[in-house]
């Protein structure tokens, strides 16, 4: 349990320090960004096909691929995980990122209905 928590903290720290996609200015954008990029990142880590139909898909994928390359080169322990373990880990990571950037965020502008 502690090990998993530590691993999620490492991945969270990487996202917070190296990425910008999780910090769009409104809650609905953050939700879409987190959902799509982390979903595609999970698929990439599990060697599963990734949908690339629309320009938006390609944009999420570019961020997701960059993220997974960073994860793989910085956290060698990822290579030893099974697909199920990766999915579980990434699911927990998404929950954590959603909390820090949306549901637990103290940013009062997130709910402003206009840009």
């Amino acid at each position: 349990m502690e090990e998993k928590k530590e691993r999620i903290a490492q991945l969270e720290d990487y996202i917070m320090k190296k990425c910008l996609w999780q910090f769009h200015s409104r809650a609905w954008d953050r939700k879409t960004q987190n959902e799509n990029i982390l979903k595609k990142a999970t698929q990439l880590l599990c060697d599963e096909p990734v949908e690339l139909e629309t320009p938006l898909d390609r944009c999420y994928w570019a961020d997701a691929l960059s993220l997974t390359e960073g994860f793989r080169s910085n956290y060698k322990w990822l290579a030893a995980l099974s697909k199920e373990e990766i999915k579980e880990l990434m699911g927990d990571l998404k929950e954590r990122i959603d909390f820090v950037t949306i549901t637990g965020s103290l940013n009062a502008e997130l709910t402003d209905p206009r840009y």
Partner: protein
């Protein structure tokens, strides 16, 4: 993450919620400074006004435009002597500044007539320029001048010209950030979609939130051109008015300064379905990652990788020379908005400096989220600081250098803390691989300047070491370095030219043929 109360601001208790210290094991959900609020009365802010944010930050970097302020000449103060958003058309937008010269009598009798006269006079004085932006100011907004109506009248009389009116008087927001917002929204509402651009590549972007400070945009354009990417428009540094009217045809919006320009990217996404990709032109790793992401989006990542490999091999040994000498130096990262987060982590990682404080003059809470997330534990984060708070922070944190604007920078000098101009740069450009080395060189020169060492001495009481002989920056910086580092054959100081930008303007690029498409 405890809120931090400055001793000097105890008499303004509201200020306490504007500063936090990043504590161990804490995250953004524990505390976040308030932001983008009206400055509290009694606090002498370093902010600019909403007119300044609209005109002097975003509007005026457009290069082929007469930028006219409808107000007193004093409102046009910021031009070539304070702003450094250069352009490749001989800096027209910096060299010439225009105002309708509103005086007291116009406040009484109205200033629309004088505005119209001035618009026509300006177009006649510069017959090659057919585009104009007009900025409302406090005085003319308060008397209710209808600038849009005057602009329409002129466009009817002079059909060859086009005019954009920006209604963002100084009071239209808590800081310059209010003006960023207003001009973003006004531009997409009034101008985007009014020109159909010529598409010359399969890979077309808008480069947004980039202001060509000392040539930043031109450095980045060099990379994009080497990748065969067409930059349809730059919002707005070195950007062209008519190119910016054609923003709706891009395949991708590549966004640098989200603080000043995310609004237009968000609107372009909603209205035209153009994706927004946040990128970073500062720092080797963030820049490489950004170029690669653009390459991935278009399926030309090998072109990006070739640039990354070439530039890294050329410039990394020089960056590392400075890193060895900057390790552990304490920095207060006190810019206006986006550099708070663009730089917070990468200067620590790639230059070895310790960011002891971050602040933002006009950032929103979203900027603080990014900045606090990226800086290390123990850093003091402050929103909209006043001068006394800045002084108190410097006295307490004892930074080796601060990165800030020229106004607080001059204050820092008075207490013998060197500063680098984070807005207009000292010897930029700072974007790009070479630019990042130029930044490292400026930091090095600021910290190790022998003159700065002398500034620490107080001739009224300190003993002056008259017999100590001369010192150089290198003598000071290499004092405690290992022999291996000092005599390294791979590390070297900056070897670029004084002017790293002008040659890009005449550079030729490989032609990437556009794919044939069947209709």
């Amino acid at each position: 993450m405890p809120y931090h109360e400055f001793e000097c601001s105890k008499c303004i208790p509201e200020r306490k919620q504007h500063a936090v210290i990043k504590g161990p094991g804490e995250d953004l959900t524990h505390a976040l400074p308030l932001g983008h609020l009206n400055t509290i009365p009694g606090s002498i802010s370093e902010r600019g006004c909403a007119y300044c944010g609209a005109k002097h930050v975003i509007g005026t970097p457009m290069k082929d435009v007469i930028h006219l302020s409808h107000g007193p000449t004093g409102c046009t103060y910021d031009t070539w002597q304070t702003k450094r958003y250069i352009s490749d058309n001989d800096n027209f937008q910096l060299k010439y500044t225009f105002a309708s010269d509103v005086k007291e009598k116009h406040i009484v009798f109205g200033a629309e007539k004088v505005l119209k006269q001035n618009i026509i006079e300006a177009f006649k004085a510069f017959p090659d320029i057919k585009r104009m932006t007009i900025y409302q100011t406090c005085a003319t907004a308060l008397i209710g001048d209808d600038v849009d109506a005057i602009a329409e009248e002129v466009m009817e009389e002079m059909p060859e010209v086009d005019i954009f009116v920006c209604n963002s008087p100084g009071f239209a927001g808590p800081s310059q950030s209010g003006g960023h917002h207003k001009i973003n929204i006004a531009w997409i509402k009034k101008k985007v979609g009014t020109v159909e651009p010529k598409i010359t590549s399969d890979y077309v972007i808008n480069y947004v939130g980039e202001y060509n400070i000392q040539g930043d945009q031109e450095v980045m354009l060099d990379y994009f051109k080497r990748m065969g990417v067409q930059v349809l428009s730059t919002f707005t540094g070195n950007g062209s008015y008519d190119e910016l009217r054609g923003m709706h045809r891009a395949h991708l919006n590549v966004l640098e300064c989200a603080r000043s320009a995310e609004y237009i990217c968000n609107e372009l996404k909603v209205k035209y379905g153009i994706p927004r990709l946040d990128i970073e032109g500062f720092g080797f790793e963030p820049l490489s990652s950004s170029l690669r992401k653009i390459g991935l989006f278009f399926g030309i990542e090998e072109r990006a990788q070739a640039i990354i490999d070439e530039e890294t091999a050329r410039w990394k040994p020089e960056l590392d020379w400075y890193k060895e000498r900057l390790k552990g130096k304490k920095v207060c990262l006190w810019p206006g908005g986006s550099k708070l987060w663009h730089w917070a982590h990468v200067i620590h990682e790639e230059m070895g400096v310790e960011v002891v404080s971050v602040y933002t003059k006009f950032g929103h809470q979203g900027d603080m989220e990014k900045g606090i997330a990226r800086c290390e534990e123990g850093a003091l984060a402050v929103d909209d600081p006043n001068e006394l708070e800045g002084l108190e922070a410097m006295m307490t944190l004892k930074p080796d250098v601060i990165f800030t604007g020229k106004r607080p920078g001059e204050v820092a000098k008075k207490i013998r803390v060197p500063y680098l101009n984070a807005h207009a740069y000292h010897n930029g450009p700072y974007k790009g691989y070479e630019g990042w080395v130029r930044f490292a060189r400026d930091i090095y020169n600021a910290i190790y300047s022998p003159i700065h060492q002398l500034a620490h001495l107080d001739i009224s009481k300190d003993e002056i070491p008259a017999g100590a002989g001369f010192q150089t920056a290198k003598m000071l910086s290499d004092l405690n370095l290992s022999e291996e580092v000092v005599s390294s054959s791979t590390l070297r100081q900056y070897t670029g030219k004084y002017d790293s930008v002008s040659s890009l303007r005449t550079k030729t690029y490989p032609e990437f043929k556009k794919k044939e498409r069947s209709e």
